[in-house]
Subunit: 147 residues, 2 copies
DNA sequence: GCTCCTGTAAGAAGATATATTACAGGAAAG
DNA sequence: CTTTCCTGTAATATATCTTCTTACAGGAGC
């Protein structure tokens, strides 16, 4: 099992918007070309990011822009925006434990809270990561290429 | 997206083996009945758990038993045993970032290591959790019912 | 008013998860 | 040694999810 690529697509979109904001008109097709997926997918992700207040969409010359400074966008913000994990949680509890079995009837109680804790541990790590660091690293890698 | 239910099925299987070990002959059908899934699924998970040295499978009177004390089985051990996350990692990076785009060409480098860190944060939390605690909680819940 | 971009619908194709039937082979028990 | 019955596994069927793709309406910007 894996988390939808919408998450990493969104990360690249935000990075590319910042990187090209000043030199290009950034549109869904432009981003789709950079990311290597269909423009429709990009528009979907763009919609999510707009709703979350991360980007601003204009059809004008400015194209798509960031709605707030990179420092204020965490990877968790993006993760939440694109909804890449089911609202039932990261873990999928099997649906029909047997209610006639004492274990089947009570296992949920003991396991659920721990699964929540595990998911939170992952999400807390995402909260610590800022998009400005991703962009910095990417710019550095691009500069390193030039040599 | 969600992690396969094989994980929670395995957790219930280990719990049920411990709980019923002394009073019942534990077989794949017995477990399947408790878990509420098809016996074939249980046999698959059993195979994984056996390979990981967590349970022992016998066709004799003893049935299926734990291969080591509960205290020595962590949730991480089970998570690893059933292989519920792709070996490419929890996160799915989109496949074709454009190599002609500086961002598309370099985004992987900056993001990958962070995704690994996030996944590890989750897995470390699982390592802290012992099956003996799950079983204790479940037994407690069962006793509470009796009143 | 014209252009072109976004938003969205709808359908196709592929991957994955789970259920289900069936059966061979082997271990345990007598 | 024979019978029983449990495991291991293959093959097939659904259902769901993901991503791709085509198409088009409506609206924003120039």
């Amino acid at each position: 099992m894996q988390i939808t690529s919408k998450f990493t697509i969104a990360i690249q979109i935000v990075t590319a918007i910042d990187y090209f904001q000043e030199t290009e008109k950034v549109t869904s097709s432009f981003l789709a070309d950079s990311v290597g997926v269909n423009p429709v997918i990009v528009r979907g992700v763009m919609g999510d990011l707009k709703e979350a207040g991360i980007i601003a969409i204009s059809q004008g010359k400015s194209g798509i822009t960031l709605a707030k400074p990179l420092e204020k966008i965490s990877m968790y913000d993006i993760y939440k925006a694109v909804d890449c994990v089911s609202e039932d949680g990261l873990f999928h509890f099997h649906e029909n434990p047997n209610a006639n079995c004492p274990v089947g009837r009570n296992i949920h109680k003991s396991v659920d809270k721990r699964l929540v804790r595990v998911q939170k541990a992952m999400e807390n790590e995402l909260k610590e990561m800022s998009m400005s660091d991703i962009v910095k690293d990417t710019r550095k890698a691009i500069r390193a290429e030039a040599r």
